[in-house]
Every structure is written in structure tokens, then in C-alpha cells.
């Protein structure tokens, strides 16, 4: 069995990346989870209170389902998922085979702008994670 352990230093770096690149942009809440539904880290803007543990379990399930659907239609994966609501939206993006980045944001941010930043964030996190 593999155990996921991240050093304090790595987590601090990842948290800093998330705060700097996504929370400052106006994203309400960012969570990094693994595919088993564990939370690696969660950042929010201080005002939104989500039940991140349940969210992680559901998100991992959701992503796994979509992944299975991708395979059914002959795709390797759907690496990006987006749910749009009236007031808030959720964006899922795969960091690597084990990790998923989830951003929850309101209507003030455009999806394109968020995606640009998410790509940047993922690249930075991969660098930190690879050093593990």
C-alpha cells in the first residue's frame, strides 16, 4: 500500500501557489484532493464555508465516473470538467494520475481567465510535487 505523505514545506509551497494564483483572483475555494477522496489541502477566501470533506468524496467519485465514461467512448481521459450554476461554478482539473484540483468560483470570474490560471497553477504544483 502506498501512503501519501507530503512534507510541511511542500504543502506550504502549494498553499502559497493556490492563494497567490487563484484565491487572489477571486476564486472562493480551492481544494486539492487525491483520487481516493482524501483532501491534500484546501484554501478559501475566508468568507465561503464549504463542507470540504464531503465535497472531496463526491468530487473523487464524480471524476472517476467521468473517467470511466471517457474510456467507454475511446478517450484516454477527460482531463477537465466544469459545472455551471446560477451563482457559483465548479471547475475540475487533473494535476496527475493521483491528484485533482477543484476550484469553486462565482459569476465575477470568466471561465477562460480561470482556466489560464489553473494551467499555470498545475504546472507549478507538479514541480513541487515531483520533488517528493
Amino acid at each position: 500500500m502506498n501512503y501519501g505523505i507530503v512534507s510541511q514545506e511542500q504543502l506550504e509551497q502549494i498553499d502559497a501557489i493556490l492563494s497567490d494564483k487563484l484565491i487572489k483572483l477571486g476564486v472562493d475555494c480551492v481544494i486539492i484532493i487525491d483520487m481516493a477522496g482524501n483532501i491534500i489541502t484546501a484554501r478559501d477566501n475566508g468568507t465561503s464555508k464549504y463542507d470540504v470533506y464531503s465535497f472531496a468524496a463526491l468530487a473523487a467519485g464524480n471524476f472517476a465516473t467521468v473517467d470511466a465514461m471517457a474510456k467507454l467512448v475511446g478517450e484516454q481521459e477527460f482531463s477537465l470538467l466544469f459545472h455551471k450554476g446560477q451563482e457559483s461554478n465548479i471547475h475540475f482539473s487533473k494535476i496527475d494520475d493521483e491528484l485533482l484540483l477543484i476550484s469553486m468560483f462565482g459569476k465575477d470570474i470568466s471561465l477562460g481567465f480561470l482556466r489560464l490560471n489553473v494551467v499555470d497553477v498545475i504546472e507549478k504544483i507538479r514541480k513541487v510535487w515531483d520533488r517528493k
Binding site: M1, N2, Y3, G4, I5, V6, S7, Q8, L11, E12, D34, M35, A36, G37, N38, I39, I40, T41, D51, Y53, S54, A57, L58, A60, G61, A64, T65, A68
Partner: protein, 201 residues
Amino acid sequence: MSFINLKDKVVQVKIVYYGPGRCGKTTNLEYINRTYRKQILSEMVSLKTHGDRTLFFDFLPFDMGQIKGYDIKIQLYTVPGQVKYNATRKLVLRGVDGIVFVADAMEKQREKNIRSLNQLHENLQSYKESIFKIPLVMQYNKVDLKEHGIPILPTDVLQKDLNSRLQVPYFEASAITGYNVAATLKKIISSTVVSIQKKLL
């Protein structure tokens, strides 16, 4: 895969209730949810069909307090029991740390229990896990039905069917009345936490 956060000192442990359809996995979680309300961080999440059958999983996060300064967060999951949902069962098993196998003690369910346990074995293999190594507790559920005149398999038959090779701890239980639900939970938590500790040392 349990996840250990060294910064916030949190250990997340994933425990899955597995077993054939209608054996009482969800009922176990519902009882725990009612009885330990104070320790439970949030609402139980149930993804079910209109007929109240589990479609994907139930999820119940559970705070266990601290061990050596680390907060232990137990995440309880159930799998959907219906035969056709094996793909989803497999997804829920991803990264599992400990398993409770809930067997239905009703006589007519004998074969279904065995089949479900065999499938658990196969599903774990697909994640390169072994049913012989992973922390596992057997629960022989629905023993209360005996009082209502419904034929129940004696525990030694269930033991022979399901636990003769595995030799794991087992409990007779009744999820609906709560009999031995907490005992099962305590046993699987302690086995799982000990196994994680061993692997880390």
C-alpha cells in the same frame, strides 16, 4: 491510501463497508450517524436511487480524536451492493485502508455472501491489494431476525463459508437495532490505525 498531512497534523483513513445487496451496509452507517452525531463533522452523504438503494456510495466523515498529536479523520464509505454495480464498487475501493465485510445472515442469502466476498478479493487484486493483508472485519448482520422466525445461518456456518481462510475478527450484529455496530466499527478502526502505524514505522 491514507493521507497524512504533516502541516496540519491530520491523518485521513478510508474505511469501506462491503457486502451483497440489502445486507445492511447503509443501515450500519445510518446507525453510526445517529448515535455519534457529536463526533460527526457533517451530514451523511447518500447517493441513492428513487427506490432508496445505494447507487454510488454513502459517505460519513467521523472524527476520532488524536493519536500522538495527529487528528485522525475516519471516512466511512459503503459500496452499492447490487450485482450490476461492480464498476462503481471498484471505484469506491480505490485507496481503501480497511474493510468491513457485512454478510447477510439470512439462510437464503448464503450464496450471495460468498459471491460478494470473492468479488471483493478480485476487486482488491485490481488495485494490487490483497484481501489477506488489508485490515478486514466480518460482520454477520441481521441476527435479530431469528426472533421473528426467519431462518438464520448459524455463526459457525458463516465462519466456515467466509472466514475459514481469512481468520479475521468477526461480530454477530444487527445494524437496525445497533447491536454490535459500534463494536464492529471500533475493531476496524483499531486494526486499520495499527496497520497504518506499522507501515509508517
